[in-house]
């Protein structure tokens, strides 16, 4: 059994839309930076965000978790919400996207994700 986590609930389509808004606000996909010595993964300098995620890159800020097309959730932790409420992140969103994000944050519930399937 895993810990309960704060999520935004919705249909799979609603959650996919919300995930795209979050990625837009936070600037994903993002390329990683190498730390420490030794061998590191080879990362392409640029990536268009389609196809498999190259090692060292992060495609999305968050996975959605889908039980069915009408039952999906997106983890929205307090830390993630704080990043999304930063003025730099907000400046990247349209008025309608800000409204959709605020609605999702207000509708958060706590769930245990066991039994659901992460959608990469």
């Amino acid at each position: 059994m895993s810990k309960a986590i704060k999520v935004a609930p919705g249909t799979e389509a609603q959650i996919d839309t919300l995930r795209a808004i979050i990625d837009k606000a936070l600037g994903f996909p993002k390329r990683g930076s190498h730390v420490g010595g030794g061998q590191h993964v080879n990362m392409p300098d640029t990536w268009d965000g389609t196809g498999p995620t190259p090692p060292g890159w992060a495609k999305s800020a968050s996975n959605s978790w889908v039980a069915s097309v009408t039952d999906a959730v997106l983890p929205l932790t307090d830390d993630l919400v704080a990043m999304l409420q930063d003025s730099g992140a907000q400046a990247k969103l349209s008025a309608s996207e800000k409204t959709a994000l605020q609605t999702a944050v207000a509708a958060r519930i706590s769930v245990i994700l066991d039994g659901r399937t992460p959608k990469p």
Binding site: M1, H34, G38, V41, P75
Partner: protein, 252 residues
């Protein structure tokens, strides 16, 4: 202008130093080392650790492409003499390396890791070689305890102390009841958890859920026959030397 006279020595008076070979898992196990993750080597950061590069040379890197599921990197962990460590949050963090399970699909394997359990939840996974059904998982049990499980669960009825770093060893046989789990130098359980399928190897979690909340400083996977007890006595002595040099104050 200098000229070298026959028989003369350069660097006269310089003190010669011993150059004993540096012992590492790679020098000890050579081509049988299939994955070697070390906290001070090969880290790539985005939100957290997006990639932890395999130092074995086999390219079995552990990666996570989703920001929220990337484990936290601690550059100087005060609980381990300021060594760098990687921590899974127990909620959704996991690093996966699909190629590793192909490499070791038909071999017994041995895992040695320097770890610290932070919180305990029965069922949370430490590491798994996951497939359809059943996954080969090493996870928390009740009591607290550690469990090796595939077709059968083998329960240790004991575990490492919460909040303390310890050396964890796991030998997994694909065919017979020669598997074991060790905490430090003590074998706490032997048995036969069965085979199960293997399509993706991961640390901090089984594939979909069951996320473990623990920190890792080092983690390596070696091909070793369970029937002969895993690593040889000579290999064990060298690993002890290596871990003593890496973590002198910890007594691993």
């Amino acid at each position: 202008m200098f000229s070298r006279r026959p028989g003369a020595r350069f660097n006269r008076g310089r003190i010669a130093t011993s150059s004993a070979p540096v012992v590492t898992p790679l020098t000890i196990y050579g081509a049988d080392l299939y994955q070697w993750l070390r906290g001070d080597l090969g880290i790539t950061l985005v939100t957290g650790v997006s990639a932890w590069a395999d130092q074995s040379g086999k390219g079995n890197n552990a990666t996570q492409g989703t920001g929220a599921a990337q484990p936290t990197y601690t550059a100087a962990d005060a609980t381990l003499n300021n060594q760098p460590t990687v921590t899974g949050d127990g909620s959704n963090d996991v690093l996966s390396s699909a190629a590793l399970t192909t490499d070791l699909a038909t071999d017994d394997f041995y895992i040695c890791a320097i770890v610290k359990q932070i919180t305990w939840t029965s069922g949370d996974s430490w590491t798994s070689a996951a497939g359809s059904t059943p996954p080969r998982s090493f996870q928390n049990g009740a009591s607290p305890a550690m469990v090796m499980t595939a077709t059968t669960s083998v329960n240790s009825n004991s575990a490492g102390t919460l909040g303390s770093w310890f050396r964890m060893e796991l030998l997994w046989s694909l065919t017979a009841g020669a598997s074991y789990f060790k905490i430090g130098s003590t074998v706490v359980q032997t048995g036969n958890p069965g085979t199960g399928s293997r399509t993706s190897s991961s640390i901090f979690a089984a594939p979909a859920a069951l996320f473990g909340n623990y920190a890792v400083a080092e983690f390596f996977v070696v091909k070793r026959a369970a029937a002969s007890g895993g690593p040889t006595a000579g290999e064990r002595a060298q690993i002890n030397t290596y871990l003593q040099s890496r973590y002198p104050a910890a007594g691993f």
